[in-house]
Subunit: 412 residues, 2 copies
C-alpha cells in the first residue's frame, strides 16, 4: 500500500507567525484516495534542512508532498533543495519562462529579473501549472517514489493539488476508487452520535465513518472504497441512507452546508421572510444569516436590542414585563420575537435573550442561560438552553440553536 509524507518549508511556520493548514488539507485529501499520511516534517528556509527532510520523508513513504519555498526571493530554496535531493541540476524551461512572462504581461506588470528563477526546475522533473500565481509546481518520479513540490500559498496549493496532483496520485497509488460524502448534523453531542452509530465508526470498516465537530455542528464523513467509482458511490449512498434513518432530524444537510444556508435556501424557495431580534448574541444571528450570498431574498430586518429601553421602544416589549420577569426570560424572548415579526411583517421572527457572561449571572440565572423564541403563524415556540464554556461559545451556540429551531419548523 502506498503511504505519504508531507514536508512543509518556510521560516514563518517556525516562528509563531503562520499556522500550517496545508498539512491538514493535504492529509484529508490523501485520505480520500486511500493514502494515509504517516509523517510530516516542518523546516525553515535552509538548504541542508530541506534536503534532509526530503530524505526522511522519502524513507517513510512512497509519496512525498512538499509545500513552500518556491517563490522568487533568495530565501526560496525548495527548487535547489529538490534538485540536490534528486542529485541533479536545475534546468531552464523555456516554456515556463514564457508562461511567467505572460503572467506579468497580462497584468501590465514589469517582470522582475528575480522571477526568472521560477522557470528553472530539476532536470528530469516536470512542471505543474499554477493558474493563480507565478510559481510552478514540480513533480518527479525516482526509484518508485513520487515527489511533488507545491507553492505554500494555500489557495494556489489547493487548486494545483486538485487539478494536477490528485489525478497523478491516483494513477501512481493505483488505489481503488474512493467516494466521500459528508452528512452535517446539529442538535446533539459527539458522544451521543458515536453511541447512535456504534461499531459503524470503527477503523477498518468500509464505508468508514469519520466524525468531526465544530461549534456544535457534527460532520460525518462517509468514505467508501471500491473497484470503481460507481460501486463506491453506491456504497456511500446506501450508507448515507442508513445513517439518515438512524439519525433522523439530527441531519440537516450535506457537503459544506451551514445551518444558515439550508434555512436560507428553503425560505427563498418558499418565498418566505425572516426578521431577528437579538440581545445577548448581539448581531451574531443576523451575521450568520447574511453570511450567505443572496440573503436579501428572505432576510429583511434585524434588531440588536441590547438595552432594555431598546427592547421597549423598538420592539414594543412592555417595560413591566421586563421588570416582572427580567430581561432574560421566556416572556421577554417571546415578546421580542412577536414584536419583531409584527414590525417587519415577516413570516418568521426569532427572539434571543440570555446571559453570555462573564458578568451578569444571578443564582437563578447562570451564565450560559439563553431563551430563544421562533414566532410564526403557528405561534411561538420557545426553548431555553444552558450553554457551557465562554462568552464567544455561548453566543455562537445560541445563534446556531436558533437557526436549528427554525430549520425544524421549516421541516428541513
Amino acid at each position: 500500500m502506498k503511504k505519504a509524507s508531507i514536508v512543509s518549508i518556510g521560516n514563518e511556520l517556525l516562528n509563531g507567525q503562520t499556522v500550517d493548514t496545508n498539512t491538514t488539507y493535504l492529509s484529508g485529501q490523501l485520505l480520500t484516495i486511500g493514502v494515509p499520511v504517516v509523517s510530516s516534517y516542518t523546516i525553515g528556509d535552509d538548504m541542508d534542512a530541506i534536503v534532509r527532510a526530503f530524505n526522511l520523508a522519502s524513507n517513510d513513504a512512497n509519496i512525498v508532498i512538499a509545500t513552500g519555498g518556491l517563490g522568487p526571493t533568495d530565501d526560496d530554496l525548495t527548487r535547489q533543495g529538490f534538485a540536490n535531493f534528486l542529485g541533479t541540476e536545475l534546468e531552464l524551461q523555456n516554456e515556463l519562462l514564457d508562461k511567467i512572462q505572460n503572467f506579468f504581461a497580462k497584468r501590465n506588470l514589469q517582470m522582475s529579473e528575480r522571477n526568472k528563477i521560477q522557470a528553472y526546475i530539476p532536470a528530469g522533473a516536470r512542471p505543474l501549472a499554477n493558474p493563480l500565481g507565478t510559481a510552478p509546481g514540480i513533480m518527479a518520479e525516482a526509484e518508485d517514489k513520487l515527489i511533488v513540490a507545491l507553492p505554500g500559498v494555500p489557495s494556489e496549493m489547493k487548486q494545483m493539488f486538485a487539478e494536477s496532483v490528485l489525478p497523478e496520485l491516483q494513477r501512481f497509488a493505483g488505489t481503488q476508487a474512493v467516494v466521500v460524502r459528508k452528512l452535517r448534523c446539529f442538535g446533539t453531542g459527539e458522544s451521543n452520535i458515536a453511541e447512535l452509530l456504534g461499531s459503524l465508526m470503527q477503523r477498518g470498516r468500509n464505508p468508514l465513518i469519520n466524525c468531526t465537530v465544530e461549534y456544535g455542528v457534527i460532520t460525518l464523513h462517509i468514505i467508501a472504497t471500491a473497484e470503481d467509482k460507481n460501486k463506491a458511490r453506491q456504497m456511500a449512498e446506501k450508507k448515507e441512507k442508513s445513517l439518515r434513518n438512524t439519525l433522523g432530524e439530527l441531519v440537516y444537510g450535506t457537503g459544506e452546508q451551514t445551518l444558515a444556508e439550508v434555512v436560507g435556501e428553503k425560505l427563498a424557495r418558499q418565498k418566505m421572510t425572516i426578521a431577528v431580534a437579538e440581545s445577548c448574541t448581539g448581531g451574531t444571528l443576523a451575521k450568520l444569516l447574511t453570511d450567505i450570498p443572496g440573503a436579501s431574498r428572505y432576510f429583511t430586518h434585524g434588531w440588536v436590542t441590547y438595552s432594555n429601553t431598546a427592547k421597549t421602544t423598538e420592539l414594543g416589549v412592555p417595560a413591566d414585563l421586563i421588570e416582572k420577569y427580567g430581561a432574560v426570560s421566556e416572556q421577554v424572548a417571546q415578546a421580542m420575537a412577536c414584536g419583531a415579526r409584527k414590525k417587519a411583517r415577516t413570516d418568521f421572527a426569532i427572539g434571543i435573550t440570555g446571559i453570555a457572561g462573564p458578568a451578569g449571572a444571578t443564582e437563578q440565572k447562570p451564565i450560559g442561560l439563553v431563551y430563544i423564541t421562533v414566532d410564526s403563524d403557528d405561534g411561538c415556540n420557545t426553548k431555553h438552553c444552558l450553554f457551557p464554556h465562554d462568552r464567544q461559545f455561548i453566543r455562537l451556540r445560541a445563534a446556531q440553536t436558533a437557526l436549528n429551531m427554525l430549520r425544524l419548523e421549516l421541516n428541513i
Copy 2:
C-alpha cells in the same frame, strides 16, 4: 546558542481532522526567550515513529518539546515512547496518582481504571502539573538536552507551558532576558508599514521588530534582548516610543487589544453611548462591539436594515433618497447613521451600506464599495472604501474600518 525542535503526536493531525496550532504557539513563545525552533515533526500514534521523532528532534536541537499522546487510552503512547527514547522504564508516582484521584473526586466522578496509567512517568523524569486536566506533563534532562512532553489539548498545553516549562527553559537556555511588547495598528497595509519602518525590521536587530497581519490589523512585535529584564524593558519601551512617533495615529493599542476593545473602553470611561445601523455588514459591527464583555455600558441599539423598507420604516431614511442615490450611497449611509442616533439617543451612531457581493454590482458601484458614516454632535463624517477579496473579507473589513473611524473621532 540553544535551539528547539517540536514533536507533535496524534493520528488526528495526519488525517485531515485537526489543524496543528500548538507548533505555532510554542515556536512563538520560544522566540520570545530567544530560542529559535529549527524543525518540527508530526507523527501518528505509533510507538516506533514516536521514538524516532524524539531521536531526530534531539539531534536537531538541545530542547525538544513534544505535545499529544498523554491521554489514558490505548493509543496514547507518548509516555512509553519517552521512556524508550531515554532507555528507561515507566514508574508509578504515588503523588501523581493521588492528584488524579483527587481530580475525579472533586468533580464527583468515578475514576476509570485506565486513568491510572497517567500516574506513570519514565524513571528519572519529573512530572509537570496540569491544573486543567488529568494528564501530567513530563520533563527530563539527558545528555545536555531538555526534553518535555505536554498534553495536546491547546488550553492545557498553553497553561502548563507558561507556568511550568517556560521558567525551566529560561534557566536551561541561559538566555538573556527578553521582553516582548506588541503594538497594534490599523489603517494601512503591511508593505506601507514595512516602508515606514525601513531597516528596523531587519533580522539581527535588537530590539527586533516582527510584523503579523490579520484582517487589516497589523501587529508589531518588539522583541528586546538584554542582560537583565529591566534593561530589556527599557529598550523595548524606548523602541515602542520611537515606533509610535513614526506611525502616529496608525497605532491604536498594545498587547492583544482589538479595535472594539479600545473604542469600548474609551466610551465607557467617558460615559458615552453608541448605536449602529448596518446594511451590507449584516450585524458584523454589532457583533464585534458586543464581543467585548460589558459592552452594555455603551452599546444600546443595533439595526440590521437589510431591505430598503427596513431602512425607511426603522431609521427614517427617506424612500426618495434611496431611489435617487441608491441604497449604496453616501447619502443613505448618512441618513442611516443620523436616523439611528436620533432613535437611540446615543452620543455616536454608525451607518454602513455597501456591496459585499458576489452579486449586486453595477458599473458605477463595484463589489467591495462601502460607505461608512460616523454621526456625532460634531456632525457626520463619511468615508467610502473599496475593499478587495470576497464577501466575508469585505464585511469584516468594513466593520473594522467603521470602528477605526470611531477610534479616531475618540482621539485614541
